[in-house]
Symmetry: C2
Subunit: 214 residues, 2 copies
Amino acid sequence: MADPVPLTLTTDVVPFAIRTERLEVLLVGRSVDWRLPGGPIEPGEDLDVAARRHLAEQTGLCQVYLEQLYTFGQPGRAAGQRAVTVAYYALVPAGSLSGDPVPLADRTGWAMVDALPTLVLDHAKIVALARRRLASKLAYSTIVLQLMPERFTLSELQTVHETILGEPLDKRNFRKRILALDCIETTGEMAQRGGRRPARLFRAKHPGQVDFVK
Amino acid sequence: MADPVPLTLTTDVVPFAIRTERLEVLLVGRSVDWRLPGGPIEPGEDLDVAARRHLAEQTGLCQVYLEQLYTFGQPGRAAGQRAVTVAYYALVPAGSLSGDPVPLADRTGWAMVDALPTLVLDHAKIVALARRRLASKLAYSTIVLQLMPERFTLSELQTVHETILGEPLDKRNFRKRILALDCIETTGEMAQRGGRRPARLFRAKHPGQVDFVK
DNA sequence: TTGCAATAGTGTCAAATTGACACTAACATA
DNA sequence: TATGTTAGTGTCAATTTGACACTATTGCAA
């Protein structure tokens, strides 16, 4: 059906997480420049599997939510060679970050999505597209739960929404809407943090599953 | 950044059009089986350009709306070899079909999307995904205009919606909604077809442009 | 010329949804 | 026990959505 075309086929992953009430991206550094975790797709390897593998190898992150974003192949995106990359984004639950990630290759670092360092190639464009996709998916899916720890309060969930959307939300309307989606349930436990009224802890009804709503 | 991986990188395009009040897909035939138009991406060729080129070469269609859909790369989707395809869908305006297309390679044929013949590889899956994407985009964009001829009546536009969604719509509510979008305008002309009241002809305010709405 | 068949075109009202808005409750600490 | 801090809760107006039926205009046939 087709002649083989010599080229470089890679995946790149935009790993998002909420850290200290900011949306951040995990980058890996090779020599001077920062880039997204990713790399070549092996023969016989599924695209999703390759993305997941590079993410795990380079950052230690595994069991995250992963979704294909877009495939970039402008000639000239890589100097000299023909490079096509299948871009993904990953959502890292806040709870699964045990301090800083284990860098199995090079150094890694979280960067605020609004204040990225210079990235190689068109990686900044990839991050920008992923950010827009994530923000728009908040409106019509339960995807935000993939960024939450196993148990969380409604206030925490609201803060995550506000962080991603970049605008404050009304507390009562937010709670009404979220609870009406029927995607989270109370655990019966309370969050105990000093000096204020404890909040009820919730969890996703279907962890790992993203539903479309409305 | 990555070692070269030997593989076959292709594009496949799902060309949609409305024909006789049905959503149809243009297929090309090589020997016995039908497949989507597409083929290898040349070195130095942009992905979108490659998709557009194969579509034109194999079906004669050009100047259509084209959008990247998804990249498929399951090992085993092509027997023996490692085949990755960047899938697109194209929307063909009803007016631009001068009878049957000019087959520059092999034979071509339109097939109803609900009654496809057997397709090679996973092309049926690609069509199914494209159909879902198209249907969902109706709700929040002006994409449907890409399927319309230059001038069209509101009834024709409504029929196209109904065809894609597979359900009847209320005439008055439909017109209210479409006109509120402010994406079409009257031409001042009337459609003259025998035996009934003529309808006003409309055109897209921004042809070739797809806006997000709501 | 008149009637008929066929499609175009138009508005209202009830129901549901959205969005603005402010106070009390519970806890830790001083 | 007073204070600071966050959790938690309901109403009402405005807007949006969705159900619903009749008149208008044309070509053609009787």
